[in-house]
């Protein structure tokens, strides 16, 4: 009888531990989402131009983060962890859904960002600049695109190296090249 009691107690204890772990995981996931939601959304812009599909991509990235989160043991920073998953998902997405790049004129009206500032002319110009930048980024080769996005998100060279699996020196060289390509692409637009 005592034995039975201890077994049920142990089982209840295990269930409690699992549910606590699960709750902690959910809280961690919610915090990551609220912290990186905007960054993930922007990153998805560089891999997908169609709004509905892009939303799907953002969800896929979030789902991949959730699935991998249980095994995250702090091998790298949380930021690196999120960007690695997001970019790798983006790469797979590019393969599954080609062509990833759409010409400027095909960009949907609904993709235009909403800017609350009052001057319409300035607003139009800014929106135009944004669309041009997005289109230029989308036209870059995937590895250059990835570096540019990481640079725009404000990651250091060391963090970029951690995300991509290359040396910091290599990051610097490639980034220079990517910036030049982006400038050329913007010049053409």
């Amino acid at each position: 009888m005592n034995y039975d009691h201890s077994v049920t107690d142990r089982f209840a204890g295990q269930v409690k531990i699992v549910s606590e772990h699960r709750q902690a995981l959910e809280e961690h996931f919610d915090r990551i989402l609220s912290e990186y939601w905007a960054a993930i959304s922007r990153l998805a812009f560089s891999y997908e131009t169609v709004a509905s599909v892009r939303e799907e991509l953002v969800q896929e990235i979030a789902l991949a983060i959730w699935l991998a989160l249980a095994q995250f043991r702090g091998q790298c920073s949380e930021r690196t962890f999120v960007y690695r998953i997001a970019h790798n998902r983006g790469l797979s997405h590019v393969w599954r859904r080609r062509p990833a790049h759409q010409p400027l004129e095909e960009l949907e009206e609904s993709d235009e960002p909403v800017d609350p500032r009052p001057h319409p002319e300035e607003l139009v110009e800014r929106a135009d600049q944004r669309v041009r930048l997005m289109s230029a980024i989308q036209s870059l080769p995937v590895t250059q695109r990835q570096l540019i996005v990481l640079m725009l998100e404000g990651l250091s060279h060391a963090e970029m190296a951690e995300v991509m699996g290359i040396t910091e020196n290599n990051v610097a060289v490639r980034l220079n090249r990517a910036r030049k390509t982006l400038k050329d692409a913007l010049g053409e637009k």
């Binding site: 959304s41 979030a62 789902l63 962890f81 800017d115 944004r130 080769p141 995937v142 400038k183």
Partner: protein, 196 residues
């Protein structure tokens, strides 16, 4: 200095890009819930199906003749392979997306190559299997022949099903191989970009 101003301007434009819909986070929670449900239901269905197949094999085994034995053996092999595959999938806790981009692309490359090889091997194995079955049938024709004569309709049906299945499997294999080769080409381009 010019470069920094340029970067600042890009960053400003970049940071003002519209975000995904605000109810996206709620949708993600729903997707996670659905994923968990699918996981449980998928495992349950697999267990039921495997048990059903084994039961069917048992019933067929008790039918006299070579055909019953053949069916039972085939189903048992199928159940074993399916169960092993399912366990393999469930064990697949590796998340390649968490690795660096280089490691992820290299792993992707290896996986695509492995799948192409597996596909080629499967085609050769299936051809070998057909030849083996034909040879075994020919060698044991005196015994099997009696069963064929006794139940000609069953054997003709089996033969027609096998013949009809061949082109379907063949076209599927060709389609899959072409797709995998295109994927390999894409991964090679990314790898070349990374090595450049």
């Amino acid at each position: 200095m010019t470069e920094d101003r340029e970067l600042d301007a890009w960053r400003e434009q970049w940071s003002s890009i519209a975000e995904a819909s605000t109810d996206g986070q709620r949708k993600i929670q729903q997707r996670i819930k659905k994923q968990n449900q699918r996981y449980v239901i998928g495992n349950l269905m697999s267990a039921i199906m495997l048990a059903g197949f084994l039961l069917f094999a048992l019933v067929m085994r008790h039918q006299s003749g070579w055909l019953g034995t053949g069916w039972a053996t085939g189903i048992c092999v199928l159940v074993f392979v399916s169960a092993a595959y399912r366990v393999w999938i469930l064990r697949g806790t590796l998340h390649p997306e968490t690795q660096t981009t280089r490691a992820f692309v290299e792993l992707w490359h290896k996986r695509v190559l492995a799948r192409i090889r597996l596909l080629q091997i499967s085609i050769y194995v299936s051809l070998g299997w057909i030849i083996l079955c034909t040879a075994l049938t020919a060698a044991n024709w005196t015994t099997i022949g009696q069963d064929v004569m006794a139940h000609p309709k069953d054997w003709v049906e089996l033969l027609i099903a096998c013949v009809l299945m061949q082109p379907v499997i063949w076209y599927w294999a060709v389609w899959l191989r072409r797709r995998k080769l295109a994927e390999l080409n894409e991964v090679n381009i990314i790898l070349d970009e990374m090595d450049d």
